[in-house]
Symmetry: C2
Subunit: 274 residues, 2 copies
């Protein structure tokens, strides 16, 4: 039954929705599905919420790892609105679903974090590759997982992030198979979007970055790699979730995978540096 509701959400919201409509329906508990494809043209964001005692270390982690953790905004302790990115937004209610972690272990998945909110919580709003995928498609670079209507394949690598204070872990990458010509075109295009992961971190042999089998992603769905295609890898916003699992802060909230914060910010506004 809930699945049917989700499907009708999709029909109603997918093409004509505004960011504010998506956020309002999330707030009312009417929309709890992944946000991919909604409010087209507008950026979506990853969310990480941590107690103030961890905030300097994690802000430093993001500063040192800008490709995996490109910060769009960080809120003051206890603040839950981010009007520069999303008008009248309450980040405690306006995402479809959240995950709560205690000491690195997920303890709940909820659609509202108002009852978990504390005055010492600091929210980190991090760019998402949905933004550059729109630019790829607009420039006629085919994106396999969009064509197949699945989630992008993601892999843990053997590339260590630069650690900061208590936070460390390996980089997670997303993969898109492309012809050589399109790999070059995609590199050029995404290099213009440093605030949403930027240029690829690797292309070619997956084993070089510790990926044994590109047909078995650690997160998301597998996509076929055709003859003559190269696998191209971008730093991925799932990295902070892996870092949280490895670094085990006492408390942490993130968005649920794919259930992003939909911003008023246009994808095009994210071309170039801040």
């Amino acid at each position: 039954m809930e699945r049917d509701d989700d499907q009708s959400d999709h029909v109603v919201l997918l093409n004509a929705s505004t960011p504010e409509e998506v956020r309002t329906r999330c707030r009312r508990g009417e929309f709890t599905s992944p946000t991919c494809g909604f409010a087209g043209g507008h950026a979506q964001a990853n969310l990480v919420v941590l107690p103030k005692e961890y905030a300097f270390d994690f802000l430093l982690f993001c500063q040192r790892n800008p490709k995996s953790c490109p910060l769009l905004e960080v809120l003051e302790p206890g603040h839950f609105s981010c009007s520069a990115l999303a008008r009248d937004c309450d980040i405690r209610t306006d995402l479809p679903r959240y995950r709560i972690f205690e000491h690195g272990v997920m303890t709940a998945e909820v659609s509202d974090i108002t009852s978990q909110w504390r005055d010492d919580l600091v929210s980190f709003i991090i760019g998402c590759s949905f933004s550059f995928e729109e630019a790829l498609v607009a420039n006629k670079v085919p994106v396999r997982h969009i064509e197949q209507a699945t989630n992008v394949p993601m892999f843990e690598t053997n590339i260590a992030c630069r650690s900061a204070g208590c936070f460390s872990g390996n980089l997670v990458v997303s993969m898109r198979p492309l012809t050589a010509a399109d790999a070059i075109k995609a590199t050029t295009i995404t290099s213009k979007y440093p605030r949403v992961h930027g240029a690829p971190v690797h292309l070619g042999n997956p084993a070089e970055i510790g990926i044994a089998d590109v047909s078995r992603p650690d997160y998301g769905d597998a996509v076929p790699v055709r003859d003559g295609e190269i696998t191209v890898f971008w730093a991925c916003g799932v990295t902070p979730q892996v870092v949280m699992a490895a670094s085990r802060p006492s408390f942490c909230i993130t968005h649920a995978p794919g259930c992003m914060l939909v911003l008023d910010t246009l994808n095009e506004e994210l071309a170039g540096s801040a």
Copy 2:
């Protein structure tokens, strides 16, 4: 007598010095002058050192004000080496001179901060416009204060920085007079260097950003503006010093004006985002 020593430093070091030579002579107390023009081709950096209790707020201030405070590196509490930017560097000794502030008031100017060092101090290393000036000159854009061998003119503006925690204050800008054609060229060139202040923040009428008289800079030296030239304004690394004076943290150390940390990093490495 000390002035003579400074002059001979200049003769010896100006053309042929390496970053390591400059840092070593600073460490020995043999070099206490401004670093402009030394170790050509290499980046130089602003320094702000704050107790850990202020570190999240100031890191957030830099994150929110990337044009005036473009971070090249932030060290963990108590750390004083920054090997990613400068080999075998000790930031407590390797700058020519430092300023010490207590509650926003300068209480000392010293050539070594080893005796002031504490395990809770966090060092912020911030990009400097010397890097993009080299690119301007290389691209035949004349830089007036370099031609005149004076310090760049700097002005406090009425543009409020985005505040963060306890830190707030107005933007400080540096000014370079240029023809219209060179203003366009300089904008294009400096836009490629977001990590060293990036594109201008204003051009044309100085009064629009609260500058009453461009012939009376708040810091540095005045330069002539010739007929047909436009004044062009860039965000300036002196901004954090003004913010410290306005925000009055209990303790703070900065570099003395013009007495920068000389890095191994090449200016060209700072083209593009991190």
